[in-house]
């Protein structure tokens, strides 16, 4: 459908105003709001994410596409109330204690929202206790932690320990990422997974909540 295609292309190209206009026009034309999300926004972000993974798109492209998608979602979201549209799940994300890097974490958040998740962003420099509180409060399916420094990644096992202490470890899947993180570190600390880029992190989250 033309309206869906227009919106998809606008998000892929990172054109915020075009995306807003396309979303408004599509809603006015009677396109189901849920379809706009699942058939235009989500595939658009998936295609940008794949290009990023292949090295064909880079951080600036991801950021402008995510901004365009966010702008379109602002218009679509109120119309989703009362429809059968459900996000895939809820994810809590944050950069660990002592660490301020957030570009990578924000890219992951964008790809997860782009995949249809609801994401609660705790920001940067997040203490283990704050992650645990957020898990208690929001009951997410996934907790995603990011660290960019070899010195700060050590608060990840601390957070997992704190989750166990609070009796919450079994209730949430924990995934981790960031430049110094490796698969073996992830296994060593008992996380549920690690991915090296935002697109595959979002795909992993989907798998962990049982969706493909």
């Amino acid at each position: 459908m033309a309206d869906l295609e227009t919106l998809k292309k606008a998000v892929e190209a990172g054109k915020r105003k075009d995306a807003e206009a396309a979303a408004t026009a599509a809603l006015a034309a009677g396109v189901a709001p849920g379809d706009l999300v699942s058939k235009a926004l989500i595939p658009a972000m998936a295609s940008v994410g794949e290009k990023f993974q292949k090295g064909e798109a880079f951080v600036p492209e991801m950021l402008v596409s995510a901004k365009a998608m966010k702008a379109a979602m602002e218009i679509i979201r109120p119309k989703l109330v009362g429809t059968s549209y459900q996000p895939l799940g809820k994810i809590i994300i944050g950069t660990v204690r002592g660490d301020l890097h957030d570009i990578g974490k924000n890219l992951v958040k964008m790809m997860m929202e782009g995949a249809g998740f609801e994401v609660v962003d705790l920001g940067v420099n997040v203490e283990p206790e704050k992650f645990v509180e957020a898990v208690k409060q929001h009951s997410p399916q996934v907790l995603a932690m990011s660290a960019l420094l070899t010195t700060t990644m050590l608060s990840m096992p601390e957070t997992i320990k704190a989750l166990k202490g609070a009796g919450l470890r079994e209730k949430v899947k924990v995934i981790i990422g960031g430049a110094p993180i490796t698969d073996s570190f992830s296994k060593e600390i008992g996380a549920d997974g690690y991915k090296p880029d935002a697109f595959s992190a979002a795909t992993l989250a989907k798998e962990l909540v049982g969706k493909k």
Binding site: H101, T150, T151
Partner: protein, 507 residues
């Protein structure tokens, strides 16, 4: 000696080497620590040498840069020289005053010898000087052995979490420097004592060298507890013979990760003495990408943690500027032509070559402004090519520096038109082609405002050897006027960083 080889003698200390006749003298001088501020392009006077025996042809660049009296006296630019027969030359950098031509400072001749050390994250440099004449008598360089614990500062901090590891970090760097000092003393057959030494390095290097705990630098807010300079004797540092009784001083830090090396840069470039009503800036484009701006007497500094891409690390075939490295690339008749240090097969590409190659790729339309490399590979010369990921690494590094420059200038309320000069320090800053650095969006200042500053950190350290109080007062004055800015906490940084990753459109 094969047919066609000539013999070159370097004064003042009589080093002799052989090279093929007609080859570039510059390539052979790089390994002896000679600096080429404009990157060997014949656009400055920094590499000039004086012929003592034999001859070097006068080139157009010589005539352009040197006065007729100098030419008659035998001065030539080393970067242009291609000796055809045996020659003995005296290196200007090691005979004249240790300063750039126009800098003044209260030079008080002393007795004995002095040592200056630049403890770089990647490279250690040490020089020994005659304090009565300011002549440099010898230079030693070495890779910082801490590198085996990590190429970047954060990895080394992470690797030194326990006291045994931290002790190891301290020992390996002190041992390396003690070894360099021994070599310098024996090279000059030191008959007098090494009286004093000045040591500079970034805050992490300072902490490792002096044994201060690294925890405060390991996480936000990255505020070091120890900014102070520290005095030690040569023997405490493991120095022997004529250097054992030296009074050594590791100069103080400026704030955050910005250390005494940048203090040295400020002293050497005279940024702290910028004329009233003018603004000036500088950058040390090593691993940590420090930036400095001064305006109305205030000085602001920041480090961008740009990463070691410009020093050859994280680039698939990256290497340091050494024989075998592609250090310059131009387009001739529509094709990329690369120069290799030492004139041999290309084994890799160093920082200046990387910037050139990306600029040429952009000009040739092989790299898009977004950084996309449709062909997947950009062949430069022989087996050396850039990959898609290499281009992305360049985007990250130059985006961080470019964003840092914008933020600092905003902090200080400076616009480009205000800037009298922008000094480029560090070995990479040295050989950078300004036009190409503009082409890729690393710098946006006009070429006539960008001044190559060589190893300004080391020069600043040397200057303190000649100040009556070892430079304490000068350093304190600068420190009182310096404000350290933490770029990570700036709210604009992320968007600006992403914006600056793209390459400028051609035109």
């Amino acid at each position: 000696m094969s047919g066609g080889d000539i013999r070159v003698t370097l004064q003042p200390f009589g080093t002799v080497f052989h090279m093929p006749a007609g080859h570039s003298l510059a390539d052979h001088l790089i390994v002896h620590g000679v600096e080429f501020p404009c990157g060997g392009r014949g656009r400055c006077r920094g590499c000039r040498v004086r012929v003592l025996e034999g001859s070097l042809q006068e080139t157009p660049a010589d005539s352009a840069q040197l006065k007729s009296g100098e030419l008659r006296a035998g001065w030539r630019l080393a970067c242009q020289a291609r000796p055809e027969s045996d020659v003995t030359i005296e290196l200007r950098q090691w005979t004249a005053l240790i300063l750039a031509d126009d800098t003044e400072f209260p030079f008080i001749p002393g007795e004995g010898l002095g040592i200056a050390v630049d403890v770089g994250t990647t490279t250690l440099v040490a020089q020994i000087l005659d304090l009565s004449s300011a002549r440099i008598l010898g230079t030693e360089t070495a890779l910082n052995p801490q590198a085996r614990f990590g190429a970047d500062v954060m990895s080394r901090i992470g690797a030194s979490a326990d006291s045994a590891s931290a002790g190891r970090m301290r020992t390996v760097v002190r041992d390396a420097i003690a070894g360099m000092v021994t070599k310098l003393c024996s090279r000059v057959q030191a008959k007098s004592r090494v009286v004093r030494a000045s040591i500079v390095g970034n805050t992490a290097m300072h902490h490792f060298f002096l044994g201060f705990p690294l925890e405060p630098l390991a996480a936000y807010p990255f505020t070091p507890k120890h900014l102070e300079g520290v005095d030690l004797t040569g023997s405490e540092l493991g120095w022997t013979g004529p250097a054992a009784s030296a009074s050594a001083r590791f100069l103080p830090n400026l704030g955050g990760f910005v250390g005494s090396d940048i203090l040295g840069v400020i002293l050497a470039t005279g940024l702290h003495r910028a004329a009233a009503g003018t603004a000036a800036g500088g950058a040390d484009l090593g691993t940590n990408g420090e930036i400095i701006f001064t305006s109305r007497g205030a000085i602001t500094v920041a480090s961008t943690a740009a990463g070691p891409a410009f020093e050859g690390a994280r680039i698939s075939q990256g290497m340091r500027a050494a024989p075998g490295a592609i250090d310059r690339v131009v387009i001739e008749e529509g094709k990329m032509v690369a120069h290799v240090i030492g004139g041999m097969e290309a084994g890799g590409i160093c920082g200046s070559g990387l910037v050139d190659a990306v600029a040429c790729g952009l000009e040739a339309g092989l790299i898009e402004p977004s950084g996309l490399l449709p062909a997947g590979k950009l062949p430069v010369r022989g087996e050396v090519a850039l990959t898609r990921q290499d281009i992305r690494e360049v985007q990250l590094a130059k985006g961080a520096i470019a964003a840092g420059i914008v933020i600092l200038m905003r902090e200080m309320g400076i616009v480009e038109a205000d800037l009298a000069a922008f000094h480029l320090a560090g070995a990479f800053g040295n050989s950078l082609d300004i036009g190409n650095s503009r082409r890729i969006g690393l710098l946006s200042f006009p070429a006539d405002k960008v001044k190559p500053a060589g190893n300004a950190a080391l020069l600043g350290a040397k200057m303190t050897l000649f100040m009556p109080d070892g430079g304490r007062k000068a350093c304190e004055d600068i420190i009182s006027r310096v404000r350290h800015v933490s770029l990570e906490t700036s709210p604009d940084f992320q968007d600006l960083f992403a914006e600056k990753m793209a390459f400028p459109e051609g035109g």
